[in-house]
């Protein structure tokens, strides 16, 4: 077993220190050491996106990121979306537009859509479908997810303009 390493990062705005084996994956650190079970494991090969988290302003699949790569990073997971209890526009839109069924892909979907709307505040349907293609959903057929991202975009733009 390789020597454990100390790693520090910011998780949803809070400083976190962990001591992990070099081989430990970020998804396991989040879920098993830090009790952040929102991101899920679906494939372990970077295909399904259930484990998507935001790292330094980029979406990453946390099942293929080593925790030791996160030293000094800023991480955002689904648990950081409603600080103070008020839902993020995306969370609200996913509910109102029936963009989830079993809920397993939802944290990754919302986290990915968050990054999309940061980069492209008013995406077209084609852009949404392209940007969300790294996140698989087996239940919804994506149609309502696209709608939800669109309505969240509208709401966020209106808020930004106000």
């Amino acid at each position: 077993m390789a020597k454990k390493q100390a790693v520090s990062f910011k998780l949803n705005g809070k400083e976190v220190d962990v001591v992990v084996e070099p081989r430990e994956l970020l998804i396991h650190t989040l879920r098993e050491r830090l009790q952040h079970t929102g991101p899920h494991i679906g494939c372990e090969t970077s295909h399904c996106g259930a484990c998507t988290v935001d790292m330094n302003g980029m979406s990453v699949k946390s099942c293929t990121v080593l925790t030791v790569q996160c030293d000094g990073a800023e991480l955002l997971t689904i648990e950081g979306f409603a600080p103070g209890g008020e839902l993020h526009a995306l969370q609200e839109a996913f509910h109102l537009d029936h963009a989830l069924q079993c809920g397993y892909c939802t944290p990754g979907m919302i986290t990915r859509a968050y990054r999309l709307l940061k980069e492209i505040p008013n995406p077209t349907e084609e852009e949404i479908r392209y940007w969300m293609a790294g996140n698989l959903c087996r239940c919804t057929g994506y149609q309502n997810i696209v709608t939800a991202v669109q309505s969240a975009a509208k709401k966020l733009s209106a808020k930004a303009a106000a």
Binding site: C43, Q101, T106, M132, R138
Partner: protein, 799 residues
């Protein structure tokens, strides 16, 4: 005051309302409670050592190095499970299956040893360090070769058994032969028919692949003798019974908790070796044990579907009126018959293969065999073997249309069971309870301008372009099922609902079904709200914890609404009957003087004299009730459906195929579904979107290939096709409403129809694109490569 009535009705958010889902609040916050989220004190993690060979003898297993791995606690093999007689387990198909391989392995990735360690990394290290010596045996991969004279015997443990639960066996690799209908009568029609068609049609081996894999956390409390298992199960009560039979622990001391399930689609019905190994490990160690499948384990070992190698034949007159149907299939069940099926239906509901058509004579037969592949199978978003059946008839009617030069919509019109013929008993014995097929088809044809599409297609064909129009007019069979004929392991397939109304008029209802994303907590509450006149918002729904919910067969085969929903309505009606007595007492009138209105009983002719259900709920808990009446306002219903329900639909798919690359663009997909009474239109539409997407996946890309040694050639998401948002088509949905006459609220079930009806619709569209060139059938999946091969075979790809 009619306005007041409408307002009160809307306030209930009962049946027919697109009520927002109650489940969402936790999921959008990442606060779901899936099995891998469960963490118990002292919990160990299990990893499975799997066979690299499809067929081999185990010469030795050496645990020594594995036990030296830091963190590894124990390594279990079949020999360790033998003393407690848990190295084999019964299957839902009437067979037995090795929990851990006993002397030989019969499929690649079969479970050989179970390594227990302090975390999942150590468990994986330990599994890598277990040394197993094998002696390879020749495998059987092609089910059509399984019953050859010199075929190697796969199951030595049952080689001398005449039967494995479903009638006589004629070969050591034979599982059963099942048939239905009039063979001689059908053969006679075929002999004298004006036209006959025949086609070999494959439903390849696929996997439901829910986003969450299977897993469990087993926790045995040695002091109390109690076993608690958090488990990804679509049927927690059946699992509890199987575990009781297996372990000898009294069923009352076993608690199965479903929790939140990340999709099932059939994958999570059976009991898998990993569950049993984890349970045994917890019993042995006295600490909780978690086992979670990897995606590769999931696709390779648990829950494959289909693998039906069919032959379809139709006999008809010269006008295309079908006179007889003869369908046969060789079913590849893999190495153990862990096929999920009702005892009397080893080939599931395959005999629904007469579809939506009035076919006077029919015969079908399924021969199931063992091969050196993963055991199963399960019903992937369908009732058992219904996709296979519907695929055959919906493909064959197109084949017949092409042979006779009749339009593919017209041939359906000519053969539909007519609205006035319902209830209609098919030649294979099912009584279709209701339907209105002509209306559904015409509505869809009009919506897509079918005639215009055919004209466009003719013009494109003249230019050498490929455009296909697929039609599917399917009938599903869901809601297993009538207890006289439907059981699993002897337990009837009823379902249940237990409702308790509180003094202040809120209620809790518990059911024997199990949501995996279908939104039960939302929709069941709507049924009860409409029945009882209590707001759905105040009706709590619970499922999946066997200590709390009444016994039921779970959620699969679209049985939740047909069976569980019926139980909910009937339990509510029992409460309502009692409530009426209380209301009569409170209003000092006879029961006959009362009428029900939205949320209250009122005195006929005097609407200002009434008692609301809330008033009655409170009274039921006081002494102000009729003499001799028990207190409380509770009821339980165990519902035995008198018949299956038969949802149907009419779909049209339009595709454009690029002949130089074989790429297919789904230009349009229009789906009309009739699921009877609609409880929540928003959820119905969501289910249809999802079902169509899974149909798209199966038709256009999914298959689990093997090489001749029985090696998997595609068991990660690198190879196995799950459509992304980019390739998934945009769905257009529509509906008609033909209530089920025998269901308490007229509902039929919906989630599987789009999968079952969608798959042949895609295939029919693809084949239709080539129909003018004499192509009558192309096997799924219609990947670009395979479509390109068809183009190449026809010389279409030459510039």
């Amino acid at each position: 005051m009619p306005d007041d009535k409408l307002a009160r009705e809307q306030k209930l958010e009962g049946m027919g309302a697109s009520r927002k889902r109650k489940e969402d609040a936790r999921f959008i916050r990442g606060q779901g409670s899936y099995v891998d989220d469960i963490k118990l004190p002292g919990m160990l993690f299990g990893a499975i050592v799997r066979s690299p060979y499809a067929h081999a003898r185990i010469k030795s297993i050496n645990k020594e190095n594995a036990l030296k791995v830091p963190g590894v606690v124990a390594v279990l093999t079949a020999d360790d499970l033998k003393p407690v007689k848990l190295h084999w387990m019964p299957t839902l198909g009437g067979d037995v299956q090795a929990v851990l391989a006993d002397k030989k392995v019969c499929f690649q990735y079969q479970e050989v040893a179970f390594v227990l360690a302090q975390d999942r990394y150590a468990a994986a290290d330990g599994a890598d360090a277990v040394e197993v010596e094998y002696e390879e045996l020749p495998p059987i991969v092609d089910p059509r070769k399984a019953m050859a004279k010199d075929a190697p015997i796969i199951r030595e443990d049952i080689a001398d058994k005449d039967s494995v639960g479903h009638g006589p066996r004629t070969h050591p690799n034979h599982i059963f032969t099942w048939d239905a209908g009039d063979k001689d009568g059908t053969d006679a029609v075929f002999k004298s028919a004006a036209v006959t068609v025949r086609e070999e049609i494959l439903n390849p081996r696929v996997h439901p692949c829910p986003l969450e894999t299977c897993g469990c956390v087993a926790s045995f409390d040695k002091v109390r003798g109690q076993l608690t298992v958090y488990l990804t199960s679509q049927a927690p009560h059946l699992v509890r019974t199987v575990v009781a039979m297996l372990s000898g622990i009294p069923e009352s001391k076993i608690r199965i908790i479903g929790g939140d399930i990340g999709g099932g689609f059939g994958n999570k019905v059976p009991v898998y070796p990993g569950y049993v190994a984890a349970i045994v490990a917890s019993i042995v160690t006295g600490v909780p044990v978690k086992w979670i499948e990897s995606r590769i384990d999931n696709i390779s070992t648990t829950g494959f579907a289909r693998d039906y190698h069919g032959v379809g034949e139709l006999a008809a007159d010269k006008d295309g009126r079908i006179k007889a149907l003869r369908f046969t299939a060789i079913a590849d069940h893999g190495a153990f018959n862990s096929h999920v099926s009702a005892t009397k239906f080893p080939a599931g509901l395959f005999s629904i293969c007469t579809g939506s058509y009035a076919i006077p004579k029919a015969y079908c037969r399924v021969d199931a065999v063992y091969t050196n592949k993963a055991p199963g199978g399960v019903a992937y978003r369908c009732s058992l073997r219904v996709t296979e059946a519907v695929y055959l008839i919906e493909r064959m009617i197109d084949v017949l249309a092409q042979k006779l030069g009749i339009d593919k919509a017209e041939i359906r019109r000519r053969n539909f069971v007519k609205a006035e013929q319902f209830p209609y008993t098919t030649a294979l014995g099912w009584t279709l309870d209701s339907g209105n097929y002509h209306v559904a088809l015409e509505k869809v044809l009009k919506a897509v301008d079918y005639e215009g599409l055919r004209k466009e297609q003719a013009a494109k064909r003249a230019k050498g372009e490929l455009m296909g129009i697929g039609i599917s007019t399917f009938t599903e069979i869901v809601g297993a099922g009538p207890n006289k004929v439907c059981d699993i392991l002897g337990i009837s397939l009823f379902d249940s609902c237990d409702i308790r109304v509180n003094p202040t008029g809120s209620a809790i209802a518990r059911l024997g079904t199990m949501s995996q994303g279908q939104g039960h907590a939302t929709t069941y509450a709507q049924i009860i709200a409409s029945e009882l006149g209590l707001p759905s918002e105040e009706i709590q729904i619970e499922e999946g914890d066997t200590d709390k919910a009444p016994y039921g067969a779970g959620t699969w085969g679209s049985r939740s609404t047909p069976v569980g929903g019926a139980a909910a309505a009937r339990a509510a009606r029992k409460i309502k009957e009692k409530a009426k007595k209380i209301a009569a007492h409170l209003l000092e009138v006879g029961e006959g003087d009362l009428e029900w209105e939205v949320d209250r009983f009122r005195v006929k002719g005097n609407p200002s004299a009434f008692k609301t259900m809330k008033d009655i709920a409170m009274a039921a808990h006081t002494s102000n009730i009729p003499d001799g009446m028990e207190k409380g306002l509770d009821a339980t219903e165990y519902y035995d459906p008198p018949n299956m329900t038969f949802p149907f639909g009419a779909y049209v798919c339009v595709v454009d195929i690029e002949k130089y690359t074989g790429e297919t663009k789904v230009r349009r997909f229009y789906a009309l579904d009739d699921c009877g009474t609609r409880i929540n239109p928003m959820i119905i539409e969501g289910q249809i979107h999802g079902g169509l997407t899974e149909a798209f996946a199966v038709a256009m890309g999914q298959a689990i290939p093997f090489d001749e040694s029985g090696n998997h050639l595609g068991n990660s998401l690198m190879d196995y096709f799950l459509p992304t948002a980019v390739e998934t088509p945009k769905w257009e949905t529509d509906f008609t409403v033909t209530p089920s006459p025998h269901h308490p609220i007229g509902a039929k079930g919906v989630a599987e129809s789009p999968h079952v009806g969608g798959i042949p619709c895609f295939s029919n569209a693809i084949v239709d694109a080539f129909a003018h060139l004499g192509v009558t059938h192309m096997d799924m999946p219609h990947t670009s490569f395979r479509v390109w091969q068809q183009c190449k075979a026809l010389g279409l790809n030459k510039r």
